[in-house]
């Protein structure tokens, strides 16, 4: 082996701690990059592959009722490739436990070849025409622990039917399955999709020869005109009571999946870059220190006839070694990590074509990426090698020019400082750039730590805001057929209800210019106690007697503000369109709705004193008492939603935990390495102090004090940094379906500060060993190493 390489290996051996901590940073970067990017890409590809194989629709239309031949007329529209009518209804399912509320979405299956959204059979078969069989969506099949041959019993229009389970299927339409936009998270036990033969659906729901849902595919050449085609479809179907026309882009499952892929990609990129960047800065600081320390050795090497390239390479090899060892270990570790992560995604994502097979290319990319970062930082850090001349070897190290600091100008203050504090301040001002990096590093650690702490509070805040402040009811009931207001009194006799209010919740199309959204408008009493509306600034408001109140997501999508006038179109056929003024925009974190006074709703409907549902406040569990009421279509319990989310808490906490580790790794690597560099640079100074009678503890205290001061500054800087990262994240993950309140509780700041202090403390402790092991006499004796 070349003697220079031997020297390098021994140098690394003498700075194991630094080497290892940097290798760990590189490993983390690589693992994150390889596993997350790989899964993101594969997921993206497999989603679209899935779409192609199942002929996934481009446009989804909900109508009140449309005859089959009118569906076929849509083929006349330019660009439309295929159309297919379906019958879709959400119905309750009878299950063993009478207290359990289970809903199923029944979707008719035409049983023909090359249909749109064809079923992806995982096991068994599709529902066969002429039988009472059903194929069940995988999530539901698994969630309810079904077996082939089981019977499921939907309750349709007062009749209980029996359907035999014959297949377990996947569907591109429900890769991500949620009952509706209000539920926020999947509930695989409580809601699922079942596919039934078309003629069964038609007879059970009374839809002979007609449909209430249409799916449309678009010619390959017209894929960029989907929006225009959707508009045309909407116009044509007006008389059939269009409830919604949704393009694939806005389809819930699709947009959740794309968002998932995007955020994986974003996470992969940002974490990888952050880690590599931190590693690169530490490497270049460390190497430039080593080169400065090795000035004489470099002069000697040049004197012996080594050229610049050889010597530069000698030092760059240090960083290359970090990159190489980090890459090898990172590659080895990323295989099981990617495997595990793929497993999670296979389980949660329901993309049958996603296999999570390991993609060797990413190992190559990852290694290349880390090598480039390490080499670049190595060259950058060691570049001053070039400036050293052989004659430098003959000169003793010139002491760094000491100069007065601005703080010394404040005589009164300066004189009051103890000797140690003066040393601390002098040293900081002498190495300003490094001090700055240390502060920045601690700020980064703080911010990276704050993110998971903040995120673990999101759900609570979200729930608190949505359910304790905005929607105060315990249950929301929907009827099959609207009832007289007075009929609500009957409910009160059936069960123990504290307060009850009527609501009218109906779909309307809200239009502003070319923007339109079909959403549920909810009419409630002006003096409702079930809702507490607040504007974005937190001001409480009452429902106006005239006009409409929009939730902020909706207002944003329509681009309207309080005071604007919009058009409100009934989706029922034959009703005329009206205009209405937006009186206020209120905060609602998930689901998009509009609210108005129930009296005004009656005016619009030209019908008085009806209710499509009821809002309840009660301590009691009303589900068992009400579930047999014929006219009740659904009972939404706030508690159930809370529980559903709690089930996800473990997963959330686990991923938060790993984020914390990221913060810890960064914090440790920065503080430890910078401290070691600073110690090695001041060997002479410390040695002289030892001679003066300082002991090791005194010197450790000096270093600690310096870092403590930096930590204080770092945390101060970390607060705004962490805040902006959290707010940025909230902005990023907020979708059409939900927004996350950017409310950061004070304790989040405190916890993050505590965690940062722990990381700094651990790193500091690790340097203590270095200080006690340093041989100060050697330092004074040896000119070169």
């Amino acid at each position: 082996m070349k003697k220079l390489d031997k020297r390098l290996i021994r140098t690394i051996g003498h700075s194991k701690g630094q080497f290892i901590s940097l290798v760990v940073v590189v490993i983390v970067a690589l693992i994150v990059y390889v596993s997350f990017s790989m899964i993101a890409e594969q997921m993206y590809n497999s989603i679209f592959q899935y779409y192609r194989e199942t002929n996934f629709a481009h446009i989804f239309v909900d109508v009140s009722r449309i005859p089959g031949n009118s569906v076929d007329e849509l083929l006349e529209i330019e660009g439309v490739d295929q159309v297919q009518g379906r019958i879709i209804f959400d119905v309750p399912l009878r299950v063993e436990d009478p207290n359990e509320k289970v809903n199923a979405r029944i979707i008719s299956d035409p049983g023909t070849e090359d249909q749109i959204n064809s079923l992806f059979i995982l096991e068994g078969e599709g529902p066969s025409p002429g039988t009472r069989t059903t194929a069940v969506l995988k999530q539901f099949f698994v969630g309810r622990d079904m077996k082939f041959g089981d019977t499921i019993r939907p309750y349709i229009g007062g009749t209980e039917y029996s359907l035999q389970v014959v297949g377990e299927v996947g569907s591109p339409e429900y890769i991500y399955l949620m009952e509706n936009e209000q539920t926020l998270l999947p509930d695989e036990k409580g809601f699922g999709v079942i596919y039934v033969p078309e003629e069964f659906a038609q007879s059970a729901f009374g839809f002979q020869g007609s449909y209430n849902n249409i799916v449309v595919t678009v010619d390959e050449g017209h894929e960029n005109r989907v929006d225009i085609i959707a508009d045309e479809i909407e116009d044509r179907l007006d008389r059939f009571g269009v409830r919604s026309v949704i393009t694939r882009e806005n389809h819930m499952s699709h947009s959740v999946m794309i968002q998932e892929v995007d955020s994986l990609e974003m996470m992969s990129t940002s974490i990888t870059i952050m880690f590599l960047f931190v590693a690169a800065v530490i490497i270049s600081i460390m190497l430039s220190r080593i080169v400065r320390k090795d000035r004489i050795a470099i002069g000697v090497l040049k004197g012996l006839g080594y050229d610049n390239k050889q010597i530069l390479m000698h030092y760059v090899k240090y960083s290359l070694a970090i990159g190489l060892v980090g890459s090898i270990l990172g590659v080895l570790l990323s295989i099981p990590v990617a495997d595990m992560l793929s497993g999670v995604y296979i389980q949660y994502m329901n993309i049958p074509l996603f296999t999570g097979a390991f993609d060797i290319r990413y190992l190559f990319y990852g290694t290349l990426l880390t090598s480039v970062f390490c080499i670049a930082s190595g060259v950058f850090g060691a570049r001053s090698v070039l400036k050293i001349t052989p004659a430098d070897a003959m000169r003793p190290e010139t002491p760094k020019a000491g100069s007065r600091m601005w703080i010394e100008g404040f005589k009164a203050l300066w004189q009051r400082l103890t000797f140690s504090w003066k040393m601390v301040l002098r040293n900081i001002s002498r190495t300003k750039r490094r001090a700055f990096f240390l502060i920045l590093g601690i700020a980064l650690t703080y911010a990276v730590t704050m993110l998971p702490v903040f995120m673990s509070t999101i759900w609570n805040t979200l729930f608190d805001r949505q359910y304790s402040q905005l929607q105060k009811m315990d249950y929301s009931i929907d009827f099959n057929i609207p009832v007289e207001r007075n009929a609500l009194l009957e409910l009160q006799q059936l069960t123990d209800i504290e307060f009850i209010e009527p609501k009218v919740e109906l779909p309307f199309e809200l239009v502003e210019g070319w923007r339109k959204e079909t959403i549920n408008v909810i009419g409630v009493q002006r003096d409702t106690i079930m809702y507490g509306f607040r504007t974005a600034s937190g001001r409480q408001i009452e429902l106006p007697s005239k006009g409409i109140v929009l939730t902020d997501i909706l207002a944003r999508q329509l681009q309207v503000q309080a005071g604007d006038t919009i058009q409100i179109n009934s989706v029922l056929p034959g009703k005329s369109d009206k205009t209405i003024q937006v009186k206020a925009v209120v905060e609602q974190y998930f689901g998009k709705n509009a609210y108005m006074d129930i009296e005004q709703m009656y005016d619009i409907l030209e019908e008085r004193d009806i209710a499509t549902g009821a809002l309840l406040m009660t301590e009691a569990d009303v589900v068992p008492d009400l579930k047999d009421v014929k006219n009740i279509r659904g009972i939404n319990s706030v508690q159930d939603m809370r529980d559903a989310i709690m089930e996800y808490m473990d997963l959330i906490i686990a991923s938060m935990g790993s984020m914390m580790i990221f913060g810890g790794v960064i914090g440790f690597a920065i503080v430890y390495n910078i401290t070691i560099v600073s110690i090695s640079e001041r060997m002479m100074e410390f040695s002289s102090l030892r001679v003066l009678g300082f002991d090791k503890k005194d010197i450790f205290r000096l270093v600690t004090r310096e870092n403590a001061l930096m930590t204080v500054f770092g945390i101060i800087l970390g607060v705004p940094l962490g805040y902006s990262i959290c707010v940025g994240l909230v902005d990023y993950v907020s979708t059409d379906m939900y927004t996350i309140p950017a409310v950061i509780e004070p304790f989040v700041y405190v916890y993050s500060a505590a965690a940062t202090l722990v990381f700094v403390f651990v790193a500091q402790l690790a340097t203590y060993r270095k200080i006690t092991n340093l041989n100060f006499i050697d330092a004074l004796k040896n000119r070169i190493s």
Binding site: T11, A297, V300, L304, G305, N308, T389, P390, M394, I784
Partner: protein
């Protein structure tokens, strides 16, 4: 005669500009080093000895003047050629031993010989400097004299024609110093190397073929010794 001249410097000056003050470390120096000779540069501290030697060894650039090795000027050399010059033509012994602390004695020598095409046998050279049994020791485990001997072995093993030594005895006690000088004399004789050493120790001049005296950057005297004495007989 001129084919006997290994190294020749003409009108060499090195001027340091430090703010207002100019320091002329070397002033208009003319010097010739004859092949195979043992020359001593003598002068008080600060007289420009190291500066001169550095320039001769291709370690430093003069402000003015010319240096010729075997009739070829090294002044116009680019970095690459200068590196080659240092690698192939000169063995340099530094004033402070300047060994690599993380390499053993043998490895320190190998560090230099790895670069050369026809290096001498390392073990033999280490044997010659009397370190046959300390090859695997690290510098921190050796005395100053031993370290200096490693430094000399490192310069000699390269098998370059010219050996430049900056104060090889400066940091050593009398007896060790004498041993080192004897060693250099042996190398001069045994390997037929041209040796130039620097010292501020006047008596050492007695062992040289030629003594070059410097003061304030200038050469004030060049003296040929008809009968150089044995290093063992030097006293100071």
């Amino acid at each position: 005669m001129s084919e006997n001249i290994l190294l020749k410097a003409e009108n060499l000056s090195k001027i340091y500009q430090m703010g207002e003050v100019t320091v002329a470390a070397v002033k208009n120096v003319d010097i010739e080093i004859v092949k195979g000779e043992f020359a001593v540069i003598l002068g008080p501290s600060g007289s420009g000895k190291s500066t001169l030697l550095n320039i001769l060894g291709g370690m430093d650039q003069p402000s003015e003047g010319n240096v010729m090795m075997n009739g070829e000027s090294i002044i116009g050399f680019n970095d690459k050629k200068l590196t080659a010059y240092r690698r192939d033509k000169v063995g340099f012994v530094f004033q402070f031993y300047n060994l690599m602390g993380t390499l053993t004695a043998r490895e320190n020598v190998e560090l230099a010989t790895e670069l050369c095409k026809d290096a001498l046998d390392i073990d033999e050279v280490l044997e010659t400097v009397g370190l046959g049994d300390r090859k695997d020791h690290f510098p921190s485990q050796m005395s100053g004299g031993e370290q200096q001997r490693v430094a000399i072995a490192r310069a000699v093993a390269k098998n370059a024609d010219l050996l430049l030594c900056d104060e090889p005895t400066g940091a050593l006690d009398f007896e060790t110093g004498i041993k080192i000088l004897a060693l250099l004399r042996d190398i001069n004789k045994k390997y037929k190397k041209t040796v130039v050493i620097i010292t501020h120790n006047v008596p050492i001049g007695d062992m040289a073929d030629r003594v070059i005296k410097m003061r304030s950057g200038e050469i004030i005297e060049i003296k040929e010794n008809e009968n150089p004495i044995d290093p063992e007989r030097i006293v100071w």
